[in-house]
């Protein structure tokens, strides 16, 4: 967890230790916020021009574009915070199309009263995540809403990346027979967040898996023949089950998985058992699945395992012609069950 005591407030922000309405008013307070918090952290030539829009170079290839809003509560959690989540989330969405992420925008909606030390910490972790991912935050915006009208800080990030010519990866390209690889343990992020919610607090060592996956994607793509990787997704909200359902729907295939092959950490399994949740439906923020042509699956799996973020990658199942648009799991004792798509949030059961 972050240590706010080490953050020293640059002048003149210390007059206001918390976000006030004026920080979103477009006047001097707004400028000071930008100049003292955002620009130093995201420091780059484009941003420091502070123009209304950023003009950017474009390498050859097709453009991939994605947007995502982040409203996680609490803002800080074991393994990350809303800042790195907002960067990695959009980086990953770009990467799943096979794109190399290049530029991000960052829009902040701040709640009056948010300690500036918290904002600085969030912005700092965004900057670190962007540096690590090799993306530049080229434009941004800040608005302030009255106390009680937000959970401290919401962030929207949009991203632009470049897809190499000739590469096509999409959920609609999956064919029967394709193997399904998951890059590592599922359910870590969702359970880390749940363990901190008021009324649900339980002691655990579970950490969010929040991470940028584009280099793992590069490793996987490099190991396969052209277009042998049909589809990639990062199973965030709704978990693995929701993502597999979406792919089954997009490609009109059936999907079979073997439940005993699913990588789930012991702590996550225990917490899920305790709360009556199914790890298949719990969110991830640093995992990907890949549908790979069967003859290339072993090579892609091996390449992913050589990458630190894919060390625990496994094949969990395959696409089939039968039962199109349905997800079927082989249970621990060898029976089969249909896994229905999630409706909304999973509800913890009573006992």
């Amino acid at each position: 967890m972050p240590d706010f005591s080490n953050w020293s407030c640059p002048l003149p922000l210390r007059d206001f230790p918390n976000v006030v309405m004026g920080h979103g008013g477009g006047g001097r307070l707004s400028s000071e916020l930008i100049e003292n918090i955002f620009v130093p952290a995201f420091s780059n030539a484009t941003l420091t021009q502070l123009a209304d829009s950023s003009v950017l170079d474009r390498p050859t290839g097709r453009i991939a574009m994605s947007t995502d809003s982040f409203v996680v509560r609490p803002l800080f959690f074991p393994g990350g915070c809303i800042g790195d989540l907002a960067v990695n989330g959009t980086v990953n969405d770009l990467a799943m199309s096979g794109a190399r992420p290049l530029y991000l925008s960052a829009g902040f909606i701040l709640e009056e009263g948010l300690p500036l030390s918290h904002l600085a910490q969030i912005v700092d972790s965004m900057a670190k995540a962007a540096n690590a991912a090799g993306v530049t935050i080229v434009t941004g915006d800040t608005k302030v809403v009255e106390r009680g009208h937000g959970d401290g800080c919401y962030i929207n990030t949009s991203g632009v990346g470049i897809v190499p010519d000739g590469l096509s990866v999409a959920p609609s390209l999956v064919r029967p027979g394709d193997k399904i690889i998951v890059s590592g343990s599922i359910g870590d992020h969702g359970m880390a967040i749940l363990s901190l919610r008021e009324g649900l607090t339980f002691e655990t060592t579970i950490r969010s898996d929040c991470a940028a996956l584009h280099t793992l994607v590069e490793s996987a793509l490099a190991a396969a023949a052209s277009n042998a990787i049909r589809a990639m997704r990062d199973p965030t909200r709704g978990g693995l089950a929701a993502t597999l359902h979406e792919i089954a729907g997009a490609s009109d295939v059936g999907i079979e998985i073997d439940e005993s092959s699913l990588p789930v950490r012991g702590e996550v399994r225990s917490a899920c058992e305790l709360l009556g949740l199914d790890p298949l439906f719990v969110a991830n923020e640093g995992k990907m699945i890949a549908f790979v042509a069967p003859e290339h699956a072993d090579a892609v799996l091996a390449a992913m395992r050589r990458h630190p973020l894919g060390a625990e990658a496994v094949i969990i199942g395959r696409a089939v012609e039968e039962h199109p648009r349905s997800l079927v799991a082989k249970t621990a004792i060898g029976a089969l069950r249909v896994v229905a798509p999630p409706l909304g949030e999973q509800l913890p059961r009573i006992c």
């Binding site: 009324g199 249970t331 004792i333 029976a335 069950r337 249909v338 059961r349």
Partner: protein, 370 residues
């Protein structure tokens, strides 16, 4: 993982199934009382692997499903009251009342919160002294000790802004009600392991003697359930009717005596209406006289409640074991987890939801094997 993996072992499951197949010579109907067991049977596909002679009938042991509509409507009215923080177990939030559910109360501005333990609701009460905190205390004997403890603590610590809307139900009277219902087909029971870990199984010999049905205390993992079924089938085939404990790692004959003492102090037995089934005499608990001050029903005057049950929903027949969920005309049509007509379609322990989510939408033989 300890205490889980060893009870989900495929080989051992096959061995138990083999024994059941070897033992069974004619059709038998077994009711698993507890919704948690229903969930496990369907989720693990145990019903697909059993011989055709063994029919599992799903019992009324889902607390969410049997909480009467009138109580849910009362909960909705209290939750919508200004200055109230209404705390509930998560799976009550989507249970339909006459007109809406707790989710809708929440989206309309009510302060409705999911908690895992009533003691967490007590903490919320301490942190919000200017609000009234109401906990929705439902469930069988399993959840009762924690609910009872919360009320007891509130009284001892004089936390006056806490109260509980109580609708507790009891297993033994429900088993008797099933056995006495007209057209009953149930010949034996898997008793609910978690209930018995609190209450023991000293209450069951009386039922076994009266109705001559085997009752086997059973756990929740696949091997637990298969072992319970194996023991029941063995008794049925031999023409025996005894109480057996197949969940000895959790359950003792006497159960948890300190918990039982607390329950006797905080609650008193009352007649209770079961959703879809009707009133079962002496089948519930309410707060005892001593704790009546903490009864939300007494504290909040929400006027008279007029409840309207769906005319299509046949959850009562499902809960009595007279109808399988997919045999209901509304199943998967008018009634889905998205638009549930009855509570059995809502709770993860509800038989209808279990069938919908995990059930045999696809016949097993049409599936290829990975």
């Amino acid at each position: 993982m300890k205490y889980l993996d060893e009870f989900r072992d495929r080989e051992l499951a096959e061995r138990l199934l083999h024994e059941i197949r070897q033992t069974v010579t004619r059709p038998w109907t077994i009711m698993e009382v507890c919704g948690g067991q229903t969930h496990s049977i369907i989720r693990n596909g145990i019903h697909q692997l059993l011989p055709a002679e063994v029919e599992m009938v799903h019992g009324p042991g889902c607390p969410v499903c049997v909480t009467p509509l009138e109580v849910i409507d009362r909960a909705l009215a209290i939750a919508a009251t200004p200055n109230v923080i209404f705390c509930s177990f998560g799976d009550m939030l989507r249970v339909p009342g006459s007109e809406r559910d707790l989710f809708q109360v929440k989206s309309a501005g009510g302060d409705v919160r999911v908690v895992y333990s009533p003691l967490d609701a007590l903490q919320i009460a301490l942190k919000n002294p200017d609000k009234q905190i109401v906990f929705f205390g439902i469930g069988f004997e399993t959840t009762a000790p924690a609910n009872g403890m919360a009320v007891h603590q509130a009284k001892v610590k004089n936390i006056r802004n806490f109260s509980m809307l109580v609708s507790h139900v009891l297993v033994p009277p429900a088993i008797e009600a099933v056995l006495q219902s007209p057209g009953n087909r149930v010949q034996s029971f898997l008793a609910a392991g978690h209930v018995c870990s609190v209450m023991g199984y000293w209450q069951y010999p009386e039922i076994v003697d009266k109705f001559k049905v085997p009752i086997v205390v059973t756990g929740f993992e696949p091997l637990d359930i298969l072992e319970g079924i194996r023991r029941v089938v063995l008794q049925l085939e031999r023409g025996e009717a005894r109480v057996e404990n197949a969940y000895a790692r959790m359950v003792s004959h006497d159960g948890n005596r300190p918990a039982q003492d607390l329950l006797a102090e905080v609650f008193e037995v009352c007649d209770r209406s079961w959703r879809g089934i009707g009133c079962i005499p002496q089948s519930g608990w309410r707060l005892s006289e001593k704790y009546r001050d903490f009864d939300a029903e007494v504290r909040f005057d929400v006027g008279s409640i007029h409840s309207n049950e769906s005319t299509l929903c046949r959850s009562g027949d499902v809960l009595r074991g007279a109808l399988k969920p997919h045999e209901c005309p509304a199943f998967g049509k008018e009634c889905t987890p998205r638009h549930p007509l009855g509570a059995t379609m809502v709770s993860s322990e509800g038989a209808c939801a279990a069938y919908y989510n995990y059930g045999g939408i696809i016949p097993a033989e049409s599936l290829t094997h990975a």
